[in-house]
């Protein structure tokens, strides 16, 4: 039996406490209304290097509008309507300028025109402020959302890896099954928090999903056309079904695995085999829909067909990395007697392989859109390259170049500190990957990895550590009667 070391427990509590404080700080310092934003923008444009920053925001205004600011888009349409309405009478009057009556009539539109023009300038300013306000108010929410979905999906990825190992009847991994079950214990906990955030979004506590705002939908034909799919009741029911389905598999597969320990035959093993196969089918369907619902719908004007796979690759490689890191930790504490460097080596190979797989999908999605350059699709990448240049390309370096050069060597794949270093970089890189997927649509050019973001990660990391290692103390870390356990104990590569 593994005992949760008091140091680690204290660390997890500290992380959670610091995280909550930071998250609270993020919400408290977010601007409340337009006046706050106006002051903020004024301070930015008059400050030392604020001017350059302001110019940068102005230059980058266009792409940042597109994914998130449908208010202003709608407003632009209105503006154009007004100006055309004004222009038409003037041009009419030039045709017939003989009568005095018409001349008088001509004066009125001119005044109107000026008035309308001034109004629209002021309106535009207000729209801009409103837009920035929404972005800044979204910032702590997005930070929370990114960290929450990241840790939840990591735990889900471990569950998928576990199911695959069972169905594939892998001979090497049964000694790691209890470690994987421990990590997936976070899934139900993470799911609940995530579901609460989704409900809060539906109750208009934030503007993460602009299609949840009826005013936006009314003024946006593209979103209105998708309302059959993107509407709150259907969306939240889907989420409930997915999260429940995954957690049910997590619960029953662990229960069967424990029952197998006490059984005299392999009935529970076979049950788990069938359950895992069914879960994998359920998973691949729900995962695809999940990626549309929870990530792609942040940019409701944009769509991509391989997005589901791309998201999967991102959290799956993070999940395998997490298994490797937790295994290395437990091994270093002497809790995993039968795990040898060959098991670690296999995990490292998976980390390496799926890092390449992620890159393949990242590049496929990027190059297809870059090459064809269709405006309605390419805005997604223009926003990211112009506003998120370093995180966007930095993620490729962290998730591809670094693991490629480090993990290609067989000897390195057996060295703990090399793996820990590679693992930390991969996990960081995939957090940034999720950051890149979500932030541009919610905060646009107002992004920053500051207190809100770091605190959210720390909170969920603390919670993750606490739940995972607490779950591992409940049962022995070696499955007793798995048909492949002997093979796995003597696994040697």
């Amino acid at each position: 039996m593994y005992t949760f070391s008091s140091k680690l427990k204290t660390l997890s509590f500290i992380l959670m406490a610091v995280g909550i404080l930071g998250i609270g700080y993020g919400f408290l310092t977010a601007p409340k209304d337009i006046q706050d934003v106006e002051k903020l923008l004024a301070a930015e444009s008059h400050g030392g290097h604020g001017e350059a920053k302001h110019e940068a925001t102005v230059a980058s205004e266009k792409p940042s509008h597109e994914p998130s600011a449908n208010h202003s888009e709608a407003n632009e349409v209105k503006q154009i309507d007004e100006t055309t309405a004004v222009v038409i009478p003037t041009s009419d009057s030039t045709k017939v300028d003989t009568t005095v009556v018409v001349e008088e009539a001509q004066v009125v539109p001119v005044v109107k025109k000026e008035g309308a023009h001034e109004l629209s300038a002021e309106e535009e300013h207000n729209e801009h402020l409103n837009h920035v306000l929404h972005q800044l108010q979204n910032k702590p929410w997005s930070a929370l959302y990114v960290a929450c979905i990241f840790f939840m999906l990591v735990s889900l990825g471990v569950l998928v890896f576990y199911a695959i190992q069972q169905v594939a009847q892998a001979g090497w991994s049964p000694v790691l099954f209890r470690v994987m079950q421990g990590i997936t214990a976070y899934l139900p906990v993470g799911s609940v928090i995530f579901f609460v955030i989704l409900i809060l979004s539906g109750l208009h506590f934030n503007h993460l999903f602009i299609w949840l705002d009826p005013e936006v939908v009314a003024n946006d034909k593209l979103i209105a056309n998708k309302a059959g799919y993107l509407n709150f009741p259907f969306w939240i029911i889907r989420a409930a079904i997915f999260l429940t389905g995954w957690s049910l598999y997590q619960y029953y597969s662990r229960k069967n695995c424990l029952a197998q320990d006490e059984a005299n035959d392999n009935l529970y093993y076979k049950k788990n085999f069938k359950l895992s196969a069914m879960f994998l089918v359920f998973f691949i369907v729900t995962e695809s829909i999940m990626s549309w619902d929870w990530i792609m719908s942040i940019d409701p004007h944009w769509f991509s067909t391989l997005f589901g796979w791309y998201v999967f690759a991102s959290f799956f490689v993070s999940a395998i990395t997490t298994i490797a890191l937790v295994t290395l930790y437990l091994k270093s504490k002497g809790a995993l007697e039968h795990v040898n460097t060959s098991h670690i080596h296999d995990l490292a190979k998976f980390m390496f392989g799926f890092s390449i797989f992620w890159t393949y999908l990242w590049f496929s999605q990027y190059m297809l859109i870059w090459y064809a350059n269709i405006p309605e699709e390419v805005t997604y990448y223009i926003t990211r390259i112009e506003l998120y240049n370093l995180p966007f390309f930095g993620a490729v370096v962290m998730n591809f170049v670094f693991p490629l050069l480090i993990l290609i060597n067989t000897d390195f794949k057996r060295i703990s500190w090399v793996l820990v270093m590679a693992g930390v970089v991969i996990l960081g890189g995939h957090y940034i990957d999720f950051f890149n997927m979500i932030m541009p649509g919610t905060v646009g050019d107002r992004w920053f990895i500051g207190i809100s973001e770091i605190a959210s990660v720390l909170f969920f990391l603390g919670l993750f550590i606490f739940v995972v290692f607490n779950a591992m103390t409940k049962v022995p870390l070696l499955a007793k009667r798995n048909p492949f356990i002997e093979e796995s104990k003597h696994f040697h590569y």
Partner: protein, 174 residues
């Protein structure tokens, strides 16, 4: 001095592995082992140094990506930077996504082919090469260990008979 060698022939890979370990423990120098199929762990038991073929392949891959980059940079950017369908040809990095498929394929191509050729050269394999197996059965179901004799013929014969060899032959090698 005559070049006498002992051919100890086995019919089971487990017995062969044991014999190899015993021979190494008795400090007899193993010249060669012939097997019909790869015997897992034989190289380790014989104490053969690990292969460096993978390192070669990595370097060949680096050559491949360098060739691809230099070639496309010269052709598409330096020599004749045409506007083809609006693709930016002002610098290599601007048009790089379009070059990546070729960079990838040439890296794999160079790594794979040059590594295979290196393998052939290092193993001295080519068409029309004369086969070197000392006993035709070693390609079917027998294992053969070759050990040099240094005036200890009798001792070696009894040693190999004790390791479970089905046949021990002393051959004059020219």
């Amino acid at each position: 001095m005559s070049n006498k060698v002992i051919y100890a022939i086995y019919n089971d890979d487990d017995i062969l592995m044991d014999a190899v370990k015993k021979t190494r423990a008795a400090h007899h120098h193993i010249e060669e082992v012939f097997t019909p199929f790869p015997v897992h762990g034989l190289d380790k038991a014989m104490g053969i140094a690990p292969t460096r073929l993978a390192i070669c392949a990595f370097l060949y891959g680096c050559v491949g990506i360098a060739v691809a980059t230099a070639m496309m940079n010269y052709i598409m950017i330096q020599d004749w930077p045409q506007d083809i369908g609006g693709k930016p040809s002002f610098s290599y990095i601007e048009n790089m996504p379009a070059f990546v498929p070729i960079m990838f394929e040439l890296t794999v191509f160079f790594a794979a082919h040059l590594m295979v050729i290196t393998f052939y050269m290092r193993s001295k394999l080519w068409p029309f090469k004369e086969a070197e197996n000392p006993d035709v059965r070693t390609t079917d179901d027998h294992f053969l260990m070759e050990v040099a004799v240094h005036d200890n013929e009798e001792e070696l014969i009894s040693f190999f008979q004790s390791t479970g060899a089905v046949e021990v032959k002393v051959i004059d090698k020219h």
